[in-house]
């Protein structure tokens, strides 16, 4: 883990309000898939908190870190205007990340909206698994990175809320239709928080581990300030954990929804 400077190498629009940014640092680190980077917003001194983004790709040799982000507010708007050569400060790698072991042969990736970005890095870390991927988007226009996921996935299913591309409906609908066929050893998931409740309910009928990457507003990003708490149930008792340090990846079973 380090706090270090990054130079913007590339910052391009992928579609609509989704951008991809490649950053370079003199201080590259090893990253586990699902870990994140907390970056400052240059040119906005009034925004004093860093912003967390999943590390989508990183190359220690090339000293690069890639993130994809959606413009949702002041910080991401400001990021989207950055030009190559500009410098920002970042802390990484943070969080626990997704961990797979030998028993996980068939992996189902379940990603909704900006939740697809943390999932993208899984294949880089574990290239020798069999991946089935279900990605959900609002509509055809907001579909991104489907080509990239397709490359490493044995099967890629796309769904859109309005049916303008792939199956109509949510990723949980698609999961229900396909899970018995795919028979995953593990499911890794990231998407809008509203989907975790139905997902948990549905998966309670299966003995398949489901790991989800949560989002919460953060400050320090390293586990010290306790602002990013989420409720988990351990040994039947509910208490708070830190999304930034104990997560962002949690066993869905533990997550109190």
């Amino acid at each position: 883990m380090t706090e270090t400077d990054f130079t913007v190498i590339e910052n391009i629009k992928l579609c609509g309000d989704v951008f991809k940014m490649i950053l370079k640092t003199e201080n590259p680190q090893d990253v586990i898939c699902g870990q994140f980077i907390n970056i400052s917003i240059p040119c906005r001194n009034d925004l004093i908190l860093k912003r967390p983004f999943a590390v989508m790709d990183s190359d220690k040799g090339k000293k690069t870190v890639t993130i994809c982000y959606k413009v949702v507010g002041k910080g991401t708007d400001s990021l989207s205007r950055l030009k190559g050569g500009e410098v920002l400060s970042g802390v990484y790698p943070l969080g626990n990340g997704f961990k797979l072991d030998g028993s996980h042969k068939t992996v189902l990736l379940l990603g909704g909206g900006i939740g697809i970005f943390p999932l993208f890095s899984v294949f880089k870390c574990y290239p020798d698994k069999k991946y089935h991927t279900i990605l959900g988007f609002k509509n055809k226009e907001s579909v991104v990175l489907s080509g990239d996921f397709e490359q490493f996935s044995k099967e890629l299913l796309i769904c859109t809320d309005d049916g303008s591309m792939g199956a109509k409906g949510f990723i949980t609908d698609s999961l229900k239709r396909n899970i018995d066929r795919i028979k995953p050893d593990i499911i890794l998931c990231c998407g809008p928080s509203q989907m975790y409740k139905p997902l948990k309910d549905f998966m309670s009928g299966y003995d398949i581990p489901v790991y989800v990457s949560l989002e919460e507003r953060m400050a320090c990003g390293i586990g010290a300030c306790l602002v990013c708490n989420c409720a988990v149930t351990e040994n039947g008792k509910q208490h708070y954990k830190r999304v930034c340090k104990d997560g962002p990846v949690f066993n869905l079973k533990e997550v109190a929804l």
Binding site: I48, L49, S89, R217, C220, C225, C228, N229, A231
Partner: protein
């Protein structure tokens, strides 16, 4: 290397930079980024008698040049701290300040007993937390209760460990609060804690924080904190630790000119993990450049 040493109630700090309570945990996380022995001191996350889960999320809102938090004193409880964290902290060459908060006067006194027996360097009485329903701010709002709780806690401390009373800015007269703390036997005051505040999300039409209200901190509060520190420095004779919106060495100098002997850095640690370390380095350079020792600055405001 300039002389950055300051002495506060007999305790020597290698420099006047103390990590502020609640923004530094018990130091473990920051220790992965730099050697926390470089700090003058560390004020622990606010401790309570029993383990506390704190408030539900969201607990943080960002505002213009500031943040509002409503953590609500989540902590493992004073006993767990002593058992699991204090010895680890003591391995570091830095002043350890136990920040304690109670629901009742009895709570405060019990904790003071426990932490002084366990051997911290100083105790900071948090009677100014705006994020808990009982206790906290209630004790810090009027002079009479400030004086009485200070006196009671002071009695419970063994081994002559100095007592810092941390004041709330949410009062009509900060100097009256400072005087009350002094009258109650405080060895030192620290200020400011966070300012009561609120943020609203117009899309959901809801408060951003689940707790509705929270405490404002960060650069936006510095002008308020500076004034309060200066007022207190004219009202009391005990030393003052300045807190509020410090992000750089220049800010530290401002507080020290206004009468602070040391300062605490809070929100800046969240904006930049290495902020406190950089502030120390820059203070060093400032004193070297100006050929002064840090204590020359204290109270040096020309009015």
């Amino acid at each position: 290397m300039a002389d950055l040493k300051v002495k506060l109630c007999g305790v020597t700090f290698k420099n006047p930079i103390i990590a502020a309570s609640g923004t530094f945990g018990f130091g473990r996380e920051y220790a992965e980024f730099y050697n926390i022995s470089e700090l003058g001191g560390i004020s622990t996350k606010g401790l309570t008698l029993k383990r506390r889960e704190g408030n539900p999320p969201p607990r943080i809102a960002e505002t213009t040049s500031g943040i509002i938090n409503s953590v609500g004193l989540q902590n493992p409880g004073v006993d767990a701290f002593i058992e699991n964290d204090l010895n680890w902290l003591k391995q570091h060459n830095t002043v350890i300040i136990a920040n304690i908060a109670g629901d009742t006067e009895e709570d405060y006194c019990k904790m003071a007993e426990k932490v002084s027996a366990a051997g911290v360097d100083m105790i900071e009485l948090n009677i100014s937390c705006p994020n808990v329903k009982k206790g906290g701010l209630a004790f810090g709002s009027d002079a009479v209760s400030i004086k009485s709780i200070t006196a009671a806690v002071k009695q419970s401390i063994s081994g002559g460990i100095p007592l810092i009373v941390k004041l709330s800015p949410n009062v009509t007269s900060i100097s009256a609060a400072a005087e009350a703390a002094q009258a109650g036997g405080a060895d030192c005051i620290s200020l400011i804690n966070t300012i009561g505040a609120m943020a609203v999300d117009i899309k959901s039409k809801r408060p951003v924080l689940a707790n509705v209200f929270g405490g404002l901190s960060g650069p936006c509060v510095k002008p308020v904190a500076l004034k309060m520190v200066y007022e207190c420095s004219r009202a009391v004779t005990i030393p003052i630790i300045g807190i509020g919106g410090i992000t750089c060495a220049q800010d530290v100098i401002e507080f020290m000119l206004c009468g602070a002997t040391a300062v605490q850095v809070g929100t800046a640690n969240l904006s930049s993990i290495c902020a406190s370390k950089k502030i120390i380095d820059d203070l060093n350079a400032y004193c070297d450049d100006n050929k002064i020792k840090i204590t020359d600055i204290i109270g040096g405001l020309i009015v």
